[in-house]
């Protein structure tokens, strides 16, 4: 590599030669814009168990998670069978922040190292159906048209409800080894995060529950469940752990909400307002579907909030062009992905 000699360099200081410097205005690389943001925050998420062990909050969070798993009877401790190679697990730490940036909760999560599972031995099918965005829009349009109420619910620890059909062995979680039998391993009864089949088993569980409650799965989209009671309807749409419940049969909706809360741990979110980055506003005319927060977050993330609006003269082509320019400027895979998401919805 060629190294430019420094100006006050060695040799004769009297002979100062003005070097030609680039006149380019230096800007930080936008690629690392995110790195700068995360550095600002005071508390950080530890990467490893050893790091987290030192903090009181994280220890508490791990204890909570471990107790929840025990209560859920996720595994039983067994002596290690001879020809079994247990998969390992790790703790994942996540800081939950409120919208104003303050820390709401320290969340520790035990995740299995699903990548070490072997196809055919530890899992076979992994596909899990989720709702298509068109289905969501159809449902919203229909609900608006018929003036149905829309409710949203969220399942807590959804994946942990799924029951496993294979025998999977896992080593004991770090920091919580059993005192009496440290050499034992965990035989999993229920799914754990990052297991290959976790989403599928969860879908199986909720589908089974809804079918048992008298709902029938629609053939057009496996994530929509319909129950008709004397010409009245109740519809449940499942998007992994988010549920949209709508229909004109108020009694049935109330019942299913109660039943769901009894069967699973649910978080009642009331009227549907945010779903998959879509925001829903209720007006006297109907429903307005928009993505204001998502788009403004995107602008904020890539430092384009203060950009001036360009009058596009109503030409979509120009809008697309300006978006493309945005791609080039950000030069970041995640922007492109997110902008495509945006185009997809809008």
């Amino acid at each position: 590599m060629y190294v430019q000699p420094s100006e006050e360099g060695e040799g004769e200081p009297s002979r100062t030669v003005k070097l030609r410097r680039s006149t380019r205005i230096k800007r930080p690389n936008p690629k690392y814009a995110n790195a700068a943001i995360t550095e600002d925050e005071d508390a950080t998420e530890p990467e490893t168990f050893e790091e987290a062990q030192l903090s009181l909050e994280w220890n508490k969070a791990m204890k909570e998670e471990f107790d929840a798993l025990e209560q859920n009877q996720t595994w039983v401790l067994v002596p290690k069978p001879r020809d079994v190679k247990p998969i390992s697990c790790k703790w994942v730490y996540k800081l939950k922040r409120r919208t104003d940036g303050l820390i709401e909760r320290y969340k520790a999560c035990l995740a299995a190292r699903g990548f070490s599972q072997q196809y055919g031995l530890d899992y076979d099918e992994t596909f899990s159906p989720i709702a298509k965005i068109t289905t969501v829009r159809v449902l919203l349009a229909l609900a608006a048209n018929k003036s149905w109420n829309l409710w949203q619910m969220d399942v807590k620890n959804a994946f942990l409800h799924g029951e496993l059909d294979r025998e999977i062995y896992m080593s004991q979680p770090m920091g919580f080894q059993s005192q009496d039998h440290p050499e034992y391993i965990c035989k999993l009864r229920k799914a754990l995060y990052r297991l290959k089949q976790a989403p599928r088993t969860w879908y199986g569980k909720i589908a089974e529950f809804l079918t048992y409650s008298g709902y029938s799965m629609t053939s057009a989209d496996c994530s929509v469940f319909v129950k008709s009671v004397n010409t009245k309807l109740a519809i449940v749409l499942v998007y992994v752990d988010d549920l949209i419940i709508t229909g004109d049969c108020e009694e049935e909706i109330l019942l299913i909400k109660q039943n769901l809360s009894v069967r699973f741990q649910m978080k009642e979110l009331g009227q549907l307002k945010h779903f998959l980055g879509l925001e829903i506003d209720y007006t006297h005319k109907g429903l307005v579907l928009h993505q204001k927060r998502y788009s403004s977050d995107l602008l904020k993330k890539f430092g384009m909030v203060n950009c001036t609006n360009l009058d596009t003269n109503g030409s979509k082509c120009k809008i697309l062009c300006s978006r493309r320019e945005g791609f080039r400027r950000c030069n970041n895979v995640s922007t492109i992905g997110r902008q495509l998401d945006l185009l997809n919805f809008k």
């Binding site: 159809v138 349009a141 048209n145 506003d281 007006t283 579907l289 204001k292 384009m304 109503g314 979509k316």
Partner: protein, 182 residues
Amino acid sequence: MKGTLDYGILYKKDGDCNLVGFCDADYAGDHDTRRSTTRYVFILGWGAISWCSKRQPTVSLSTTEAEYRASAKAAQESTWLMRLFKDLCQPIKVAVTLYCDNQSVIRLAENPVFHARTKHIEVHYHFIREKVLQEEIKLKHVNTKDQVADLFTKSLSGNKFESFCQHLGMVNRKDAGVERGC
């Protein structure tokens, strides 16, 4: 993007609940591969519910062929949508109207004339013909100036753009009377 922050799709209360589709193709729109672009949009009542703007997988030899493929694609989507509505106990009783701005596509779909220029159009693209015969879809002609699907690929003049946006149910939230600030 910043200018369109406040825009959203309005799904209106009450009113009719008809499903209509618009399909169009832009012949040899891709300069590198000379493939055409399919575009279609389905509107339920007042708001757009499903749309697509996608390059076709094969090269078309004529405008008719390109449009025919686009209409077949739209027919696939409409079949799925009809099934979804049926599952949601809101069956669509009348045929879905599919607007197309190409006369020869409509003729071709309605009666099986084989022509030297269309004989190579493959079997599965005759799918739309079957759907028309089963009266699931009704093809109708629409003037190019009312072709809403143009919005997805063409650059349009200001007035046209705004009227098409309105047609798709795209509104500014402020105009729609949103009470709750966000």
